[in-house]
Assembly symmetry: C2
Homo-oligomer: 504 residues x 2
């Protein structure tokens, strides 16, 4: 076991692969079954002229080449046919746009960084795209309470960098941080790799400014950015994870978190998933408040990294499960002492068959590179069925085993890695090419198994178009009806982000 | 400066005083201005018989003596005239009750532990009380992910004790914990003394089971208790802090937090509030992840404690502001080292004029006793106007100064203590007896000043009856209208907890 010092570590965010890849759900919108254009008005020249008066000529994109990136999602899974992109710069402009779209019954897709993974941010037919990327002026940060108030169109990484100057950082970090916008993060209910430590966006959002898709383009103002305000309904939280179905988020007030002085990374090998759970228990007890990541890669992930990318495990003893454990704290000396004690305990108890602590930033990056590149390495197999599933830990790896048994030799690999600390598993099934037989073995089996075992078919990515058909699984009829009622309450003409998420 | 060891500390929750006291808002419901009984049906014998069939004889209280405690709030500020208390034991019973009350247009007050401080949990006229205290069977805790799922009628302290057996605790702690019920905590959006460290209930609630006041007594089921589930609207969060206006919470799924192994307490004296803010900045930097309380008592608070209770400050140097700082962590050795370094830094920089670290549990309790008894000591002055206000830190103590100037010699004392770390100030104005002149100087001045300076008139207690008239301050017309719309959406016959919170 190597024990060493780590003075500084570059960001370990899981990088979403930049290259377009073949993977699950390659349906274009026109191929989506049972999907017909809704009874919305079609865009007229008069509408365009009205928008140009509201936003100026630079605020309305009509050229097909300009519009193309807004019509396609980041994974190139979906392609819409919008003929108009609007780029408002102020909340007043967003409000005026929504008022007009309500009056005219024009369908609208709110779009932030367009980095979502479920097709929620692109048009399906000819919806107007309202892009929030020019709503990016306001940035106010008060370092004493650690409260940020900013426009929804600011890029997550830019916010993180600017907070860094004050010794703070954003509580969420995700692979798309260089492109995603904070308003889109909130609308998605994004999780990311810091969730185990800092909690979900519900733990941080204090208030939102939101424009409603109603006759007035009503603006729900942000209200004071206070850590505590217990007057009135906490309505802002309803827009977190609402996937652009209820309103357009134009401003965000939220807490930032102090940047840790010390980040430590270790890798542990375990023989069983039960041992992984025991190690998690020990990590919570011995690492306590400094535990910031608890990621797992199974031996199939390691084999794939080696075969497809030539990347070798940092552990010399092969193990069925590899745990990447990260701490973030305010004292390097204390954090290293805690981590050493924790590693010794795991080895002594026989919970781990091997363990190594990164001794440099470079080494820590090598550890994280295994986890970060897992997504890429498996794509070299040819075709990938990807999943973002939440399960109680007692069923976490049983899903992988059940899928392995079910698909047999139809799959090249059944690989699992994920955020064990959050109960979030990224199960991947690879094959040399798309196979309908494999598809039929997997679906709806995977999602039904998940909900039957108390899990969620979407841990962090949302529902969008990708999982809409499975949305009713595990939901009571009362809940599904209530979602429809809420949708109609906020969006009476159903003009906002139609065809997605809801099965009403 | 004393530096020492502290092995264990008893709960430091701020105790709500058990004795009935004279303080602000002593209006009984019948004296509340402009309040008329709504157009609700009156309870008939047939209703009572129906409820007895649903709940059994023990589930319906009709005797005046039995009902009296349900008609009066904990502070004896309000007294309702309900003639019927219902005690359902299951969600099905709650649903059947609400269905009948909807059909008959009978007004209902949901009541949990009845420990609220704004009159939200007692009837105003003859509303039926639906008490949740017998809905207290389910307790499921999974220690690996640290997830609790339980009935809404369980007492907070009981939950804390039962979690303690697993090495966990509830993330919230408040003075009323021996009587308050978890469902009531959620409905109130309770804060408490651990908020600085663990965040609000939004950071912990994963899912709720809720009964709606509609024609079916619709039950929104709890859904899976997962750390991550991003399918569907996050509607549970709308019921946090909804003050029993939108539905009845019958089950709660939430995260618990690991119990700290080490708790350290220190007191620091500062000459200015600006120095207090600088100390808070240093505490965040040097104590980081272990900082769990940052409380302030001004010199007037200390004088009052001495004069009325004979309690002496633990600091030998008198200071304008006294800071009670607590850390909670997983290693006593590390936590003490961090706290020592922090105290030395504050003294060296001249931010603190004196500082002392508790060396034993008894000493820590003495430190906390000052903070806990502040509320009681000032009551001996005679009459107290109390407040629960949230302000940006730059205005935090300016309110105290503005009030002091405004009331002059009309007040005996103007005292401030509070959770500085959360921006939450408990401003208190005392006099020998109630004075209308003093009242008129204070209101609406205090609340208008607060909202004009970006604050909230209720940081953690809620609105209820007590602050209803000031609810519109600082809110946009769009927000106020939206509250009314949300109310009607969930409660179309407005039968749930009428007369309170909302000004529609």
């Amino acid at each position: 076991m190597m024990i060493g010092r780590l003075t500084q570590r570059a960001s370990c965010a899981l990088r979403i692969e930049a290259r377009r890849c073949k993977s699950t759900a390659p349906l274009t919108s026109t191929q989506l079954p049972n999907l017909k254009r809704g009874d919305y008005s079609s865009l007229t020249d008069a509408d365009v002229q009205h928008f140009e008066r509201l936003l100026g000529a630079g605020g309305v994109l009509r050229d097909e080449t300009d519009i193309a990136p807004y019509n396609t999602d980041w994974m190139s899974w979906y392609r819409g046919r919008s003929r108009c992109v609007l780029l408002p710069r102020t909340v007043e402009e967003v409000s005026a746009v929504m008022k007009h779209c309500f009056d005219r019954r024009l369908a609208v897709v709110p779009q932030s960084g367009n980095t979502g993974l479920v097709g929620a941010s692109v048009p399906v037919f000819d919806e107007i795209v309202v892009s929030m990327r020019r709503l990016n002026k306001r940035f106010d940060f008060d370092p004493i309470p650690g409260i940020l108030q900013c426009d929804a169109g600011l890029v997550l990484e830019e916010l993180d960098t600017r907070l860094g100057e004050f010794g703070y950082m954003m509580p969420l970090d995700l692979g798309a941080k260089g492109s995603c916008l904070i308003g889109g993060n909130v609308a998605t209910g994004a999780g990311g790799v810091r969730l185990l430590r800092y909690g979900s966006l519900h733990a941080h959002v204090l208030a939102l400014e939101v424009v409603l898709p109603d006759k007035d383009g009503t603006v729900l103002e942000c209200g004071p950015a206070l850590r505590k305000d217990n007057t009135g309904f906490h309505e802002s939280h309803l827009f977190i994870g609402s996937e652009g179905q209820l309103g357009l988020i134009t401003q965000v007030a939220m807490t930032a978190v102090p940047k840790p002085n010390s980040v430590q990374v270790a890798m542990l090998g375990c023989d069983s998933f039960l041992d992984c759970c025991k190690v998690l228990g020990d990590a919570k007890r011995l690492l306590g408040e400094i535990l910031s990541s608890f990621e797992m890669m199974d031996s199939e992930t390691m084999r794939c990294l080696k075969e497809n990318h030539g990347r070798h495990n940092v552990l010399s003893t092969p193990a069925a499960f590899n745990l990447l454990i990260e701490t973030s704290g305010s004292s390097q000396e204390h954090d290293q002492a805690k981590l050493n004690k924790f590693l010794e305990s795991c080895l002594e108890k026989g919970l781990a068959v091997d363990g190594v602590l990164a001794t440099s930033v470079e080494q820590a990056n090598t550890f994280w590179a295994l986890r970060e590149n897992a997504t890429l390495a498996l794509m070299d197999d040819g075709y990938v069925f990807k999943h973002d599933i939440s399960l109680p830990l007692k069923h976490y790896y049983r899903l992988t085993e059940a899928v392995r048994e079910r698909v047999g030799s139809l799959a090249k690999r059944v690989i699992t890695y994920g955020h064990v600390g959050d109960g979030n598993t990224h199960l991947n099934v690879t094959a040399s090419e798309f196979s309908q037989e494999l598809y039929d073995r997997l679906y709806p089996f995977v999602y039904e198994w998940t909900t039957q075992h108390g899990g969620s078919i979407s841990a962090e990515h949302g529902v969008g178009l990708l999982k809409k058909r499975y949305m009713p699984l595990g939901k009571s009829p009362a809940h599904l009806a209530q979602y429809g009622r809420l949708k109609r309450f906020y969006d009476p003409r159903l003009i906002l982000n139609p065809y997605k998420m809801l099965t009403m």
